[in-house]
Amino acid sequence: MERSLRGTVAIAGVGETAYYKRGQAPDAEFKLALMAVLAACEDAGISPKQVDGFASFSNDRSDPSRLAAALGIHDLRFANMQWGGGGGGGSGALANAAAAVATGMAECVVVFRALAQGQFGRFGQGPVRNAISGDGAHTVPYGLMSPAQSFAMKVKRFMHEHGVEQSALRALSLASYHHAQNNPRAVMYGRPLTEEKYDDSRWIVEPFHLFDCCLENDGAAAMVVVPAQRAKDYAHKPTYLLGAVSGSHYRAGASVHNAPDYATSTFKTCAPRLYDMAQVGPGDVDVLQCYENFTGGVLMSIVEHGFCEPDECNEFLVKENLVAPDGKLPTNTSGGNLAECYMHGLGLNIEAVRQIRGESSNQVEDVDVSMVVSGPMVTPVSSCIFGTEATL
Protein backbone atom coordinates (compact mmCIF):
# COMPACT_ATOMS: atom_id res chain seq x y z
CA MET A 1 0.00 0.00 0.00
CA GLU A 2 1.35 3.41 -0.92
CA ARG A 3 2.08 5.56 2.09
CA SER A 4 1.12 9.16 1.34
CA LEU A 5 -1.09 11.95 2.60
CA ARG A 6 -2.05 12.82 -0.96
CA GLY A 7 -5.78 13.24 -1.29
CA THR A 8 -6.53 11.68 2.09
CA VAL A 9 -7.83 14.76 3.89
CA ALA A 10 -9.60 18.01 3.11
CA ILE A 11 -9.88 21.41 4.72
CA ALA A 12 -13.53 21.82 5.65
CA GLY A 13 -13.32 25.20 7.32
CA VAL A 14 -11.01 28.13 7.95
CA GLY A 15 -11.32 31.06 10.29
CA GLU A 16 -9.51 33.78 12.12
CA THR A 17 -10.14 36.51 14.65
CA ALA A 18 -9.79 40.12 13.70
CA TYR A 19 -6.07 40.83 13.39
CA TYR A 20 -4.54 43.46 15.65
CA LYS A 21 -1.32 45.34 16.04
CA ARG A 22 0.52 43.85 19.03
CA GLY A 23 -1.00 44.98 22.29
CA GLN A 24 -4.30 46.03 20.75
CA ALA A 25 -6.33 42.81 20.99
CA PRO A 26 -9.28 43.36 23.33
CA ASP A 27 -9.31 39.68 24.29
CA ALA A 28 -6.96 37.32 26.10
CA GLU A 29 -4.86 35.03 23.94
CA PHE A 30 -6.77 31.90 25.02
CA LYS A 31 -10.08 33.54 24.12
CA LEU A 32 -8.62 34.49 20.74
CA ALA A 33 -7.79 30.81 20.20
CA LEU A 34 -11.37 29.82 21.04
CA MET A 35 -12.79 32.47 18.74
CA ALA A 36 -10.68 31.27 15.82
CA VAL A 37 -11.79 27.67 16.42
CA LEU A 38 -15.42 28.79 16.53
CA ALA A 39 -14.96 30.79 13.32
CA ALA A 40 -13.38 27.85 11.48
CA CYS A 41 -16.16 25.51 12.64
CA GLU A 42 -18.83 27.99 11.60
CA ASP A 43 -17.14 28.26 8.20
CA ALA A 44 -17.27 24.47 7.88
CA GLY A 45 -20.85 24.37 9.09
CA ILE A 46 -20.12 22.03 11.99
CA SER A 47 -20.62 22.12 15.71
CA PRO A 48 -17.34 22.81 17.57
CA LYS A 49 -18.28 19.80 19.72
CA GLN A 50 -17.55 17.57 16.71
CA VAL A 51 -13.88 18.54 16.86
CA ASP A 52 -11.84 15.66 18.26
CA GLY A 53 -8.27 16.85 17.91
CA PHE A 54 -5.93 19.83 17.94
CA ALA A 55 -2.56 20.40 16.33
CA SER A 56 -0.36 23.45 16.70
CA PHE A 57 3.26 24.57 16.63
CA SER A 58 5.85 26.79 18.27
CA ASN A 59 4.78 25.84 21.80
CA ASP A 60 1.40 27.50 21.45
CA ARG A 61 0.17 28.36 24.94
CA SER A 62 -3.46 27.34 24.33
CA ASP A 63 -3.45 23.82 25.69
CA PRO A 64 -5.62 21.33 23.74
CA SER A 65 -7.19 19.82 26.85
CA ARG A 66 -8.21 23.27 28.07
CA LEU A 67 -9.58 24.09 24.62
CA ALA A 68 -11.56 20.85 24.64
CA ALA A 69 -12.91 21.64 28.11
CA ALA A 70 -13.85 25.17 27.15
CA LEU A 71 -15.58 23.99 23.97
CA GLY A 72 -17.38 21.06 25.62
CA ILE A 73 -15.77 18.49 23.34
CA HIS A 74 -16.84 14.96 24.25
CA ASP A 75 -14.06 12.81 22.85
CA LEU A 76 -10.59 14.32 22.47
CA ARG A 77 -8.54 11.90 20.38
CA PHE A 78 -5.49 13.87 19.23
CA ALA A 79 -3.40 16.57 20.89
CA ASN A 80 -0.26 17.37 18.96
CA MET A 81 2.58 19.89 19.05
CA GLN A 82 5.10 20.24 16.22
CA TRP A 83 8.43 20.49 17.98
CA GLY A 84 10.65 23.53 17.40
CA GLY A 85 11.16 25.78 14.46
CA GLY A 86 8.72 28.58 15.29
CA GLY A 87 6.70 29.49 12.22
CA GLY A 88 8.41 26.67 10.37
CA GLY A 89 5.84 24.44 12.03
CA GLY A 90 2.71 25.82 10.38
CA SER A 91 2.37 23.36 7.52
CA GLY A 92 4.01 20.76 9.76
CA ALA A 93 1.13 21.03 12.22
CA LEU A 94 -1.23 20.58 9.28
CA ALA A 95 0.74 17.53 8.17
CA ASN A 96 0.47 16.06 11.67
CA ALA A 97 -3.28 16.70 11.76
CA ALA A 98 -3.63 15.17 8.32
CA ALA A 99 -1.67 12.10 9.38
CA ALA A 100 -4.01 11.62 12.34
CA VAL A 101 -7.13 11.95 10.20
CA ALA A 102 -5.75 9.85 7.34
CA THR A 103 -4.96 6.98 9.69
CA GLY A 104 -8.21 7.06 11.61
CA MET A 105 -6.72 8.34 14.87
CA ALA A 106 -9.15 11.26 14.68
CA GLU A 107 -12.04 12.46 12.53
CA CYS A 108 -11.98 16.23 12.78
CA VAL A 109 -8.77 17.98 13.82
CA VAL A 110 -8.37 21.72 14.20
CA VAL A 111 -4.97 23.19 13.33
CA PHE A 112 -4.60 26.51 15.10
CA ARG A 113 -2.21 29.19 16.27
CA ALA A 114 -3.05 31.88 18.81
CA LEU A 115 -0.52 34.58 19.46
CA ALA A 116 -0.80 37.78 21.44
CA GLN A 117 2.67 39.29 21.38
CA GLY A 118 1.29 42.28 23.22
CA GLN A 119 0.40 40.03 26.15
CA PHE A 120 3.38 37.69 26.30
CA GLY A 121 6.37 39.52 24.85
CA ARG A 122 7.59 40.55 21.44
CA PHE A 123 9.52 38.24 19.14
CA GLY A 124 11.65 41.14 17.94
CA GLN A 125 13.28 42.02 21.27
CA GLY A 126 16.43 40.65 22.86
CA PRO A 127 16.65 39.09 26.34
CA VAL A 128 17.14 41.50 29.24
CA ARG A 129 19.04 39.70 32.01
CA ASN A 130 22.46 39.75 33.63
CA ALA A 131 23.92 36.55 32.22
CA ILE A 132 23.28 34.10 29.43
CA SER A 133 24.48 30.54 28.86
CA GLY A 134 24.17 27.93 26.15
CA ASP A 135 23.99 28.79 22.46
CA GLY A 136 22.98 32.36 23.25
CA ALA A 137 26.23 32.97 25.17
CA HIS A 138 28.04 32.76 21.82
CA THR A 139 25.86 35.30 20.01
CA VAL A 140 23.88 37.60 22.33
CA PRO A 141 26.89 39.40 23.90
CA TYR A 142 27.90 40.41 20.35
CA GLY A 143 24.50 42.02 19.74
CA LEU A 144 23.15 39.11 17.67
CA MET A 145 19.92 38.22 19.42
CA SER A 146 16.76 38.88 17.38
CA PRO A 147 15.28 36.82 14.55
CA ALA A 148 16.10 39.58 12.05
CA GLN A 149 19.72 39.54 13.18
CA SER A 150 19.93 35.74 13.06
CA PHE A 151 18.56 35.49 9.55
CA ALA A 152 20.21 38.55 7.97
CA MET A 153 23.50 36.66 8.27
CA LYS A 154 22.18 33.83 6.07
CA VAL A 155 20.58 36.15 3.55
CA LYS A 156 23.72 38.28 3.26
CA ARG A 157 25.73 35.19 2.41
CA PHE A 158 23.16 34.02 -0.17
CA MET A 159 23.08 37.44 -1.82
CA HIS A 160 26.88 37.43 -1.91
CA GLU A 161 27.06 33.97 -3.48
CA HIS A 162 24.48 34.70 -6.16
CA GLY A 163 24.77 38.42 -6.84
CA VAL A 164 21.25 39.13 -5.58
CA GLU A 165 20.34 42.81 -5.43
CA GLN A 166 18.21 44.68 -2.91
CA SER A 167 15.53 45.17 -5.59
CA ALA A 168 14.64 41.45 -5.33
CA LEU A 169 13.86 41.81 -1.63
CA ARG A 170 11.98 45.02 -2.31
CA ALA A 171 9.75 43.34 -4.93
CA LEU A 172 8.59 40.77 -2.38
CA SER A 173 7.68 43.49 0.10
CA LEU A 174 5.89 45.53 -2.57
CA ALA A 175 3.83 42.48 -3.61
CA SER A 176 2.65 41.79 -0.05
CA TYR A 177 1.69 45.41 0.57
CA HIS A 178 0.01 45.61 -2.85
CA HIS A 179 -2.23 42.65 -2.02
CA ALA A 180 -3.04 43.96 1.46
CA GLN A 181 -4.68 47.01 -0.06
CA ASN A 182 -7.52 44.79 -1.33
CA ASN A 183 -7.85 42.81 1.92
CA PRO A 184 -9.91 44.49 4.64
CA ARG A 185 -8.59 41.99 7.23
CA ALA A 186 -5.05 43.20 6.66
CA VAL A 187 -3.42 45.26 9.39
CA MET A 188 -1.77 47.28 6.58
CA TYR A 189 -5.03 47.77 4.63
CA GLY A 190 -5.08 51.39 3.51
CA ARG A 191 -1.32 51.76 3.99
CA PRO A 192 0.26 51.20 0.56
CA LEU A 193 3.99 50.91 -0.01
CA THR A 194 5.95 52.45 -2.86
CA GLU A 195 9.50 51.84 -4.06
CA GLU A 196 10.48 55.23 -2.68
CA LYS A 197 8.95 54.56 0.70
CA TYR A 198 10.78 51.23 0.87
CA ASP A 199 14.11 52.76 -0.18
CA ASP A 200 13.73 55.58 2.33
CA SER A 201 12.79 53.30 5.22
CA ARG A 202 15.33 52.72 7.94
CA TRP A 203 17.60 49.73 8.10
CA ILE A 204 16.74 47.21 10.79
CA VAL A 205 19.80 45.14 10.01
CA GLU A 206 21.36 45.12 6.56
CA PRO A 207 20.11 43.76 4.16
CA PHE A 208 16.67 44.20 5.80
CA HIS A 209 14.86 47.51 5.67
CA LEU A 210 11.88 48.03 7.97
CA PHE A 211 9.55 46.78 5.21
CA ASP A 212 11.48 43.53 4.78
CA CYS A 213 10.41 42.49 8.28
CA CYS A 214 7.18 40.85 9.41
CA LEU A 215 4.72 42.51 11.72
CA GLU A 216 4.19 41.70 15.40
CA ASN A 217 0.50 41.01 15.97
CA ASP A 218 -2.23 39.69 18.22
CA GLY A 219 -4.87 37.27 16.96
CA ALA A 220 -5.58 33.64 16.16
CA ALA A 221 -6.24 31.46 13.13
CA ALA A 222 -7.64 27.95 12.69
CA MET A 223 -8.51 25.37 10.07
CA VAL A 224 -10.60 22.20 10.22
CA VAL A 225 -9.12 18.98 8.80
CA VAL A 226 -11.49 16.12 7.87
CA PRO A 227 -11.31 12.88 5.87
CA ALA A 228 -11.37 13.46 2.11
CA GLN A 229 -14.30 11.05 1.73
CA ARG A 230 -16.48 13.51 3.62
CA ALA A 231 -15.17 16.69 1.96
CA LYS A 232 -18.43 17.32 0.14
CA ASP A 233 -20.53 17.22 3.31
CA TYR A 234 -19.41 20.71 4.28
CA ALA A 235 -20.40 24.22 3.33
CA HIS A 236 -17.67 25.05 0.80
CA LYS A 237 -16.05 23.80 -2.36
CA PRO A 238 -13.64 21.09 -1.13
CA THR A 239 -9.95 21.84 -0.68
CA TYR A 240 -7.83 18.69 -0.68
CA LEU A 241 -4.36 18.29 0.75
CA LEU A 242 -2.01 17.02 -1.96
CA GLY A 243 1.11 17.02 0.15
CA ALA A 244 2.64 18.29 3.37
CA VAL A 245 6.20 17.80 4.62
CA SER A 246 8.55 19.08 7.28
CA GLY A 247 12.18 18.68 8.21
CA SER A 248 15.64 20.04 7.56
CA HIS A 249 18.96 19.15 5.96
CA TYR A 250 22.20 17.73 7.36
CA ARG A 251 23.16 19.45 10.61
CA ALA A 252 20.79 22.37 9.98
CA GLY A 253 20.51 22.62 13.75
CA ALA A 254 24.25 22.89 14.41
CA SER A 255 24.52 25.75 16.89
CA VAL A 256 26.24 29.13 16.60
CA HIS A 257 25.51 29.41 12.86
CA ASN A 258 27.41 26.21 11.98
CA ALA A 259 25.03 24.48 9.57
CA PRO A 260 27.42 23.32 6.82
CA ASP A 261 24.96 24.40 4.11
CA TYR A 262 24.28 27.76 5.70
CA ALA A 263 22.80 30.19 3.19
CA THR A 264 19.54 28.35 2.68
CA SER A 265 15.85 28.55 3.51
CA THR A 266 16.22 24.94 4.83
CA PHE A 267 13.97 23.56 2.06
CA LYS A 268 16.53 21.78 -0.12
CA THR A 269 15.59 18.34 1.21
CA CYS A 270 11.92 19.13 1.93
CA ALA A 271 10.83 20.61 -1.40
CA PRO A 272 11.57 17.49 -3.50
CA ARG A 273 9.65 15.37 -0.96
CA LEU A 274 6.71 17.78 -1.15
CA TYR A 275 6.49 17.66 -4.94
CA ASP A 276 6.96 13.91 -4.91
CA MET A 277 4.06 13.46 -2.49
CA ALA A 278 1.81 15.97 -4.23
CA GLN A 279 2.68 14.62 -7.70
CA VAL A 280 3.00 18.13 -9.09
CA GLY A 281 5.97 20.31 -10.00
CA PRO A 282 6.69 24.00 -9.54
CA GLY A 283 5.24 24.69 -12.99
CA ASP A 284 1.86 23.41 -11.80
CA VAL A 285 1.63 25.80 -8.85
CA ASP A 286 -0.96 28.49 -9.60
CA VAL A 287 -0.46 30.64 -6.50
CA LEU A 288 2.06 30.72 -3.64
CA GLN A 289 1.87 31.79 -0.02
CA CYS A 290 5.45 32.04 1.20
CA TYR A 291 6.17 32.88 4.83
CA GLU A 292 7.81 36.23 5.20
CA ASN A 293 9.59 36.42 8.50
CA PHE A 294 11.94 38.43 6.32
CA THR A 295 11.90 38.89 2.56
CA GLY A 296 15.25 37.16 2.20
CA GLY A 297 13.69 33.92 3.43
CA VAL A 298 10.96 34.18 0.81
CA LEU A 299 13.61 34.66 -1.85
CA MET A 300 15.56 31.55 -0.86
CA SER A 301 12.33 29.53 -0.47
CA ILE A 302 11.24 30.45 -3.99
CA VAL A 303 14.59 29.29 -5.30
CA GLU A 304 14.61 26.07 -3.29
CA HIS A 305 11.05 25.19 -4.34
CA GLY A 306 12.22 25.41 -7.94
CA PHE A 307 10.48 28.57 -9.15
CA CYS A 308 13.72 30.21 -10.31
CA GLU A 309 17.44 29.53 -10.30
CA PRO A 310 19.57 31.20 -7.63
CA ASP A 311 21.26 33.36 -10.23
CA GLU A 312 17.92 34.49 -11.74
CA CYS A 313 16.55 36.19 -8.63
CA ASN A 314 17.10 39.72 -9.89
CA GLU A 315 15.13 39.08 -13.07
CA PHE A 316 12.40 36.87 -11.64
CA LEU A 317 11.69 38.72 -8.41
CA VAL A 318 10.04 41.84 -9.79
CA LYS A 319 6.67 43.09 -8.61
CA GLU A 320 4.76 42.33 -11.82
CA ASN A 321 5.70 38.65 -11.57
CA LEU A 322 4.47 38.42 -7.99
CA VAL A 323 1.07 40.14 -7.99
CA ALA A 324 -2.36 38.66 -8.60
CA PRO A 325 -4.14 38.01 -10.85
CA ASP A 326 -1.73 37.92 -13.78
CA GLY A 327 1.78 37.58 -12.35
CA LYS A 328 3.86 34.54 -13.25
CA LEU A 329 3.85 33.51 -9.58
CA PRO A 330 1.28 35.45 -7.57
CA THR A 331 2.75 35.42 -4.07
CA ASN A 332 1.34 36.29 -0.66
CA THR A 333 -2.03 37.30 -2.02
CA SER A 334 -3.52 38.23 1.37
CA GLY A 335 -0.64 40.55 2.22
CA GLY A 336 1.00 37.76 4.19
CA ASN A 337 3.07 38.21 7.30
CA LEU A 338 4.34 41.57 6.13
CA ALA A 339 1.04 43.29 5.57
CA GLU A 340 -1.98 41.13 6.49
CA CYS A 341 -0.95 39.77 9.88
CA TYR A 342 1.88 37.82 11.45
CA MET A 343 -0.19 34.94 12.81
CA HIS A 344 2.99 32.88 12.78
CA GLY A 345 2.18 32.03 9.19
CA LEU A 346 -1.06 30.11 9.65
CA GLY A 347 -2.88 32.94 7.89
CA LEU A 348 -0.96 31.89 4.78
CA ASN A 349 -2.47 28.40 4.91
CA ILE A 350 -5.93 29.94 5.21
CA GLU A 351 -5.28 32.21 2.24
CA ALA A 352 -4.13 29.21 0.18
CA VAL A 353 -7.48 27.53 0.91
CA ARG A 354 -9.36 30.68 -0.07
CA GLN A 355 -7.53 30.68 -3.40
CA ILE A 356 -8.74 27.11 -4.06
CA ARG A 357 -12.29 28.13 -3.16
CA GLY A 358 -12.16 31.30 -5.27
CA GLU A 359 -12.67 33.51 -2.20
CA SER A 360 -9.42 35.50 -2.01
CA SER A 361 -9.46 39.27 -1.98
CA ASN A 362 -6.77 38.95 -4.67
CA GLN A 363 -8.14 35.96 -6.50
CA VAL A 364 -6.03 34.27 -9.15
CA GLU A 365 -8.10 32.76 -11.96
CA ASP A 366 -8.68 29.03 -12.19
CA VAL A 367 -6.57 27.96 -9.23
CA ASP A 368 -6.12 24.20 -9.01
CA VAL A 369 -2.82 24.00 -7.13
CA SER A 370 -2.16 26.31 -4.19
CA MET A 371 1.06 26.10 -2.19
CA VAL A 372 2.22 27.26 1.25
CA VAL A 373 5.78 27.60 2.53
CA SER A 374 6.07 27.90 6.33
CA GLY A 375 8.86 29.60 8.26
CA PRO A 376 12.00 29.55 6.11
CA MET A 377 15.54 29.51 7.56
CA VAL A 378 14.60 27.79 10.83
CA THR A 379 14.65 24.05 11.54
CA PRO A 380 12.43 22.16 11.07
CA VAL A 381 10.63 24.00 8.26
CA SER A 382 7.51 22.78 6.46
CA SER A 383 5.47 23.33 3.33
CA CYS A 384 2.25 22.01 1.83
CA ILE A 385 0.18 21.95 -1.35
CA PHE A 386 -3.60 22.11 -1.65
CA GLY A 387 -5.59 21.12 -4.71
CA THR A 388 -9.09 21.13 -6.13
CA GLU A 389 -11.04 17.94 -6.81
CA ALA A 390 -9.70 18.05 -10.38
CA THR A 391 -6.16 17.45 -9.14
CA LEU A 392 -6.94 14.21 -7.31
Partner: protein, 149 residues
Protein backbone atom coordinates in the same frame (compact mmCIF):
# COMPACT_ATOMS: atom_id res chain seq x y z
CA UNK B 1 35.84 52.10 20.88
CA UNK B 2 32.31 53.16 21.46
CA UNK B 3 31.60 54.77 24.80
CA UNK B 4 29.93 53.23 27.84
CA UNK B 5 32.65 50.74 28.81
CA UNK B 6 35.74 49.03 27.57
CA UNK B 7 34.19 46.92 24.85
CA UNK B 8 33.10 47.31 21.24
CA UNK B 9 29.47 47.40 22.34
CA UNK B 10 28.03 49.36 25.25
CA UNK B 11 27.92 47.39 28.48
CA UNK B 12 24.64 46.00 29.74
CA UNK B 13 24.04 43.11 27.36
CA UNK B 14 23.69 39.67 28.95
CA UNK B 15 27.12 38.38 29.98
CA UNK B 16 28.23 34.98 28.69
CA UNK B 17 28.65 32.26 31.29
CA UNK B 18 29.43 28.56 30.78
CA UNK B 19 26.47 26.28 30.24
CA UNK B 20 25.24 24.78 33.54
CA UNK B 21 25.95 21.29 32.17
CA UNK B 22 29.56 22.34 31.43
CA UNK B 23 29.41 21.64 27.71
CA UNK B 24 31.23 24.80 26.60
CA UNK B 25 33.17 25.56 29.83
CA UNK B 26 36.61 24.85 28.30
CA UNK B 27 35.90 27.43 25.59
CA UNK B 28 35.28 30.17 28.15
CA UNK B 29 38.29 29.10 30.25
CA UNK B 30 40.39 29.34 27.09
CA UNK B 31 39.32 32.78 25.99
CA UNK B 32 39.92 34.12 29.52
CA UNK B 33 43.57 33.13 28.94
CA UNK B 34 43.62 34.59 25.43
CA UNK B 35 43.33 31.20 23.75
CA UNK B 36 40.74 30.22 21.17
CA UNK B 37 39.82 26.57 21.71
CA UNK B 38 37.33 24.65 19.59
CA UNK B 39 36.10 21.12 19.99
CA UNK B 40 37.86 18.22 18.27
CA UNK B 41 37.23 14.49 18.21
CA UNK B 42 40.24 12.46 19.33
CA UNK B 43 38.88 9.36 17.61
CA UNK B 44 38.43 10.67 14.05
CA UNK B 45 40.11 14.09 14.21
CA UNK B 46 37.03 16.04 13.14
CA UNK B 47 36.53 19.59 14.44
CA UNK B 48 33.04 20.72 15.38
CA UNK B 49 31.38 23.88 16.63
CA UNK B 50 29.16 24.59 18.53
CA UNK B 51 30.14 22.00 21.04
CA UNK B 52 28.36 18.66 21.27
CA UNK B 53 28.61 15.77 23.75
CA UNK B 54 29.63 13.36 21.01
CA UNK B 55 31.29 13.66 17.63
CA UNK B 56 28.72 14.20 14.88
CA UNK B 57 30.94 12.23 12.49
CA UNK B 58 31.96 9.06 14.36
CA UNK B 59 29.85 9.35 17.56
CA UNK B 60 32.81 9.01 19.88
CA UNK B 61 32.56 10.90 23.16
CA UNK B 62 36.33 11.31 23.34
CA UNK B 63 36.28 15.03 22.62
CA UNK B 64 38.78 17.72 23.57
CA UNK B 65 38.97 21.48 23.25
CA UNK B 66 42.05 22.25 21.20
CA UNK B 67 43.62 25.63 20.54
CA UNK B 68 43.34 26.99 17.00
CA UNK B 69 45.30 29.91 15.52
CA UNK B 70 43.27 33.08 16.15
CA UNK B 71 42.92 33.77 12.44
CA UNK B 72 39.82 33.19 10.30
CA UNK B 73 37.90 34.42 7.28
CA UNK B 74 34.70 36.45 7.14
CA UNK B 75 32.00 34.00 6.02
CA UNK B 76 29.13 36.47 6.38
CA UNK B 77 28.38 39.70 8.23
CA UNK B 78 25.66 42.16 9.05
CA UNK B 79 25.47 45.79 10.04
CA UNK B 80 22.86 46.19 12.76
CA UNK B 81 20.99 49.48 13.04
CA UNK B 82 17.84 48.84 15.05
CA UNK B 83 18.50 48.31 18.77
CA UNK B 84 16.61 45.33 20.20
CA UNK B 85 18.05 45.66 23.70
CA UNK B 86 17.99 48.68 26.06
CA UNK B 87 21.80 48.60 26.37
CA UNK B 88 22.10 49.27 22.64
CA UNK B 89 19.67 52.18 22.56
CA UNK B 90 22.37 54.77 21.86
CA UNK B 91 24.89 52.42 20.32
CA UNK B 92 24.39 53.35 16.68
CA UNK B 93 25.26 50.82 13.97
CA UNK B 94 27.58 47.94 14.73
CA UNK B 95 28.95 45.03 12.74
CA UNK B 96 28.53 41.35 13.55
CA UNK B 97 30.73 38.91 11.64
CA UNK B 98 30.50 35.17 11.18
CA UNK B 99 34.10 33.98 11.07
CA UNK B 100 35.03 30.66 9.49
CA UNK B 101 38.10 28.53 10.10
CA UNK B 102 38.74 26.84 6.75
CA UNK B 103 41.54 24.68 8.16
CA UNK B 104 39.34 23.39 10.96
CA UNK B 105 36.46 21.76 9.10
CA UNK B 106 34.79 25.12 8.43
CA UNK B 107 33.90 25.70 12.07
CA UNK B 108 32.43 29.18 12.55
CA UNK B 109 32.08 31.57 15.46
CA UNK B 110 30.29 34.89 15.88
CA UNK B 111 31.97 38.15 16.91
CA UNK B 112 32.08 41.86 16.17
CA UNK B 113 34.31 43.47 13.57
CA UNK B 114 36.36 46.15 15.32
CA UNK B 115 36.88 49.56 13.79
CA UNK B 116 34.59 51.95 11.96
CA UNK B 117 31.03 50.57 12.08
CA UNK B 118 30.46 52.12 8.64
CA UNK B 119 33.45 50.36 7.05
CA UNK B 120 33.05 48.26 3.92
CA UNK B 121 33.13 44.61 4.87
CA UNK B 122 34.35 42.01 2.39
CA UNK B 123 33.23 38.39 2.67
CA UNK B 124 36.34 36.21 2.47
CA UNK B 125 38.69 38.73 4.10
CA UNK B 126 41.15 37.38 6.66
CA UNK B 127 40.55 38.56 10.21
CA UNK B 128 42.54 38.25 13.42
CA UNK B 129 41.08 37.69 16.88
CA UNK B 130 41.25 40.33 19.59
CA UNK B 131 40.42 39.08 23.09
CA UNK B 132 38.20 41.64 24.76
CA UNK B 133 38.45 41.10 28.52
CA UNK B 134 35.77 42.39 30.87
CA UNK B 135 37.47 41.77 34.22
CA UNK B 136 35.46 44.34 36.13
CA UNK B 137 32.09 42.89 35.23
CA UNK B 138 30.21 40.51 37.50
CA UNK B 139 30.63 37.82 36.35
CA UNK B 140 33.87 38.57 34.50
CA UNK B 141 34.01 37.39 30.90
CA UNK B 142 35.99 37.61 27.68
CA UNK B 143 34.65 38.15 24.17
CA UNK B 144 36.46 37.22 20.97
CA UNK B 145 36.43 40.15 18.57
CA UNK B 146 37.90 40.45 15.09
CA UNK B 147 40.04 42.83 13.11
CA UNK B 148 40.74 42.86 9.40
CA UNK B 149 44.32 41.64 8.86
Amino acid sequence: MSGGGTGYLHSGLPKPVPAPDGLDAPFWEGVAEGKLKLQRCRACGRWQWGPEWICHNCHSDDLVFEEVPPVGRIYSFERVWHPVHPALKNQGPYIVVLVEFPEHDQARIVGNLLGDPHQDVVIGDEVHAVFEHHQDEDPAFTLVQWQVA
